[in-house]
């Protein structure tokens, strides 16, 4: 699998999505930020997005350990993301 980082693609605005990614708990520690905006190709999958960010930040969680939320609701990993969506990868919770 290839991870591309192509500024040139941004000129084709129809194929670019800006995704806000929020981080919590150990993912925030590892990303060293609360949130970032990521520009990705249209129809980028959630799995692709996590793999990219995982390589960038060195996340210790594998995707199988995480849940994912889109726009403040839990989502399935197979759900499509849209331009402007907010995405959060949810590491194992420990409330209660």
């Amino acid at each position: 699998m290839s991870v591309m980082s192509g500024i040139e693609s941004e000129s084709d605005s129809g194929s670019i999505m800006n995704i806000t990614v929020l981080y919590f708990a150990s993912l925030a520690d590892e990303a060293n930020c609360q949130q970032e905006t990521v520009s990705v190709s249209a129809s980028t999958s959630l799995a692709d997005l996590y793999q990219h960010l995982s390589q960038k930040h060195g996340f210790s969680h594998s995707q199988s350990e995480l849940r994912v939320a889109i726009n403040d609701y839990f989502a399935k990993w197979s759900d499509q993301i849209q331009d402007g969506d907010s995405v959060v990868f949810i590491s194992p919770v420990s409330g209660g």
Binding site: L49, S94, G95
Partner: protein, 175 residues
Amino acid sequence: MTDNVPMTDSVPTTNDVHSHSMTIKRSVEEVYQLAERDGFALLDIAIDEDRLKRTLDNDSCGAFVCFEGRVRNHNNATSVDRLTYYGYDDLAINQGRAIIEQAKQRFEITHAIAIHRIGALEIGDVAVWVGVVSAHRYPAFDACRWILDTIKADIPVWKQEYYENDSSKWLSNNG
């Protein structure tokens, strides 16, 4: 997996990577209104258990069951000094609303309210409160336990424990 992959990333906007998950945006009044209406909220100060109990008062209910989860002075054999809960508020209240709705479908209860506290807590502080009222006692017990279990499994709240030697650890309910 497709060929559509991430391309460019922005830079982090702050160095305090947890501040957004230690406080909530709404006022305390709004928190209790939300809890009364939807049955769930996060709160970043001490939980007013009496207020929640009064909110649940109902003359048709013979049974009130509540659970309080308090910060213990130990976890397994390790002595705990204090801990901090972090929460993803917007997802938590959406998921919390769904949990309470589902509890009312699954059990013969009249109403249920749960609040989870976030931020820095001391030993003995109440971290989570769940209260249920019903006509009869068993549905109140069953629903209270189920709501608590489901909160622990599904509500996006994370606990970091601090120990006597100044170390700390992210915990997992499923680990």
